[in-house]
């Protein structure tokens, strides 16, 4: 990502320019909807209603949001060390395997409050392990993290396919899925949780994992901006040589950062496997790892931005599903196209509008300046 050339006030850099980029992405998406002969305004209405119309829909929206917070944080942490972790998809997949194996092994013997911390640890550990190899190869063998994490995504798909088809499949079943977990290994749904306080909502996949997501946001914020390790990571991301020269063990830093990234991605397993499906199955990540890249770019690698961006993508995923139901000409894949456009405009073309904004801003400042001079003189 190219660095800003001239100083603009922070509110333009963090506020106005990202907003323009996201509007550009939505504008082009609107054109696509026009091309296929539908009304974009109508589509937006359906998406918003589909995502927030009732507590069932909100539940779905927040469930997706939870996934995207995890994968968005994962990408962001790596980005701070200027490492590009495209492997969130695979790390989340393997993280889910960790959760699944633990739940399948223990759910008959121990209660929920023992399983939960172990499952969180397992998801993180498995996710981190899947990030460890590419990180090690980058740090110690000089191979490129982008390529290796892409390769590891595909290796994860094959591995999970093999494990589900040959090992975890429930005997006598056709579809490659494990048996259902017992209730001791099921994360309480939000319906149950608010039920403890006497509030009634409809059942949806939303579960208590969202608290883990919010906790992770706080943790990442504290870690990146308020610890020595976070400082080292940002310094490394800013200037590798300076970090090296100042005595930081950069190889260990690369491995450590990527492992933390893998831990965060692995938490998707908690939300999906323990919180939603309650069994191990194929393709439960469903692209959340890639969406995390869009989320991190849009949220500018900051937890607050990531929460906002995740909510936006949660809205798009849930609302988009409703949209393809209401208007059959618009496929659910439209959301993917929007996601691609967001990555394009907020990532690759992030600074496209900057020179224009800069010119406008300087013009305004100068005209204000001359106006002041005239009144003073």
């Amino acid at each position: 990502m190219s660095s800003p050339s001239k100083a603009l006030p922070a509110w333009i850099d963090v506020g106005v320019i990202p907003l323009i980029n996201i509007l550009l992405a939505f504008f082009v998406s609107g054109i696509v909807i026009l091309i296929i002969g539908e009304d974009p305004i109508e589509a937006v209405k359906i998406v918003v209603y589909g995502a927030f119309g009732n507590d069932y829909n909100i539940g779905y929206t927040l469930h997706y949001t939870t996934n995207f917070i995890f994968t968005g944080l994962a990408v962001a942490v790596a980005f701070h060390a200027s490492l590009f972790n495209i492997g969130g998809e695979g790390q989340a997949y393997i993280g889910g395997l960790g959760v699944g194996l633990l739940c399948l092994a223990l759910d008959q013997y121990v209660p929920f409050w023992i399983i939960l911390p172990l499952a969180i640890a397992a998801s993180g550990l498995f996710g981190a392990a899947w990030a460890y190899v590419p990180a090690y190869l980058q740090a110690y063998r000089g191979s490129h993290i982008v390529i290796t994490t892409i390769m590891f995504n595909f290796i994860a798909f094959s591995l999970m396919n093999y494990i589900l088809v040959n090992v975890l499949i429930e005997p006598g079943q056709m579809s490659p899925e494990s048996r259902d977990f017992l209730t001791s290994a099921q994360m309480p749904t939000m319906q149950e949780a608010v039920g403890w306080f006497g509030i009634e909502i409809e059942k949806s996949p939303l579960n208590l994992s969202i608290l883990l997501a919010l906790f992770s946001c706080t943790f990442v914020w504290l870690f990146i901006w308020h610890t020595r390790w976070g400082y080292a990571i940002r310094m490394f991301g800013f200037n590798e040589n300076a970090a090296n020269y100042s005595g930081i063990n950069t190889q260990r830093l690369v491995v450590g950062t990527m492992c933390l990234s893998g831990v965060l991605a692995g938490f998707v397993g908690i939300n999906e496997i323990m919180g939603n499906h309650n069994r191990v199955m194929l393709d439960f990540v469903a692209g959340a790892g890639f969406t995390g890249i869009a989320v991190a770019l849009m949220g500018r690698n900051h937890p607050v931005g990531i929460i906002i961006a995740s909510l936006l993508f949660g809205t798009l995923y849930q609302g988009g599903a409703e949209l393809s139901f209401e208007i059959p000409t618009i496929q659910g894949e439209m959301v993917k196209a929007i996601q691609g456009l967001v990555i394009l405009f907020c990532g690759a073309l992030a600074y496209m509008s900057r020179p224009t904004i800069e010119r406008i801003f300087t013009a305004i400042v100068e005209s204000n300046g001359t106006a002041k001079e005239q009144t003073n003189g």
Partner: protein, 324 residues
Amino acid sequence: MDDLFLLLLSTLDSTLRVSAPLVLCAMAGIFSERSGIIDISLEGKLLAAAFAAAAVAAVSGSAFVGLGAAIVTSVLMALLHGFACITHRGNQVVSGLAINILASGLTVTLGGAWFHKGGQTPTLSGDARFSPISLPGSDFLAEIPFLGTIYVELISGHNLLVYIAFLAVPITWWVLYKTRFGLRLRAVGENPQAVDTAGISVTFLRYRSVIIAGILCGIAGAYLSTGQNAAFGKEMSAGQGYIALAAMIFGKWKPVPGLLACMLFGFLDAMAVRLQGVALPGIGEIPVQFMQALPYVLTVILLAGFIGKAIAPKAIGRPYVKER
């Protein structure tokens, strides 16, 4: 013995068919990356081109018009990549990823709206497809025992695009190593400052490289949907763009080793189909998933420096900023 020979021939025959799009994409990747532009968008260009070819061929009834549409589409995506990476100096990996996701979303969105088949295009037949070509002399050469069989079974009987794919390799080699353009292209991937100092436009050179990559991916896409298959299907590129990327790296960014890597990965794929459910003596049954993962595993091992050393072009991934 004869059976084994024929089995081998048919495996090699499908190796050629499977590796043809990989070869085209790998050559595309070589052009782009040797000029210093990372191209993980091979996958997206391939998918978009496959859709364009099948959609236009279905409407026009001509495979060649479809091929043209595929090339145009793929070049447009390449230009978008160039616009982001060369003109706006954006992150090349991010741009490539954006194109891949965009292609995967747009193809199904547009296909679903235009053909009402959930993202599929209508089935093609007749002139709307590239059909197998019998090379001259197949009839009487078939009489010759060994070489004749090879000629008829293996070399003859592919469609036009397969031959183009394999011709693309010597052409790529010739352009890269024997022309002035190729010399400059390689130089701009290693040291753009030097090229700029010599008075050659880095921007124009890199744009031409990504356009060539677009053309090659376009042909590969047309092959997928109008040659190898008879329609476009959702996500039909199925990671082949990434396999080609892996093959290009495996071939150390060089045309001929790249070709061999593509053939190796294609052979693994062809074997995976044939070995399914077959127990090998002493090894037992090889899981098909293992064969599918093997290209990626091999590439990782190579990148880790355990099989020789893969050295990327020096200036790859770094946008060029003209000094003021």
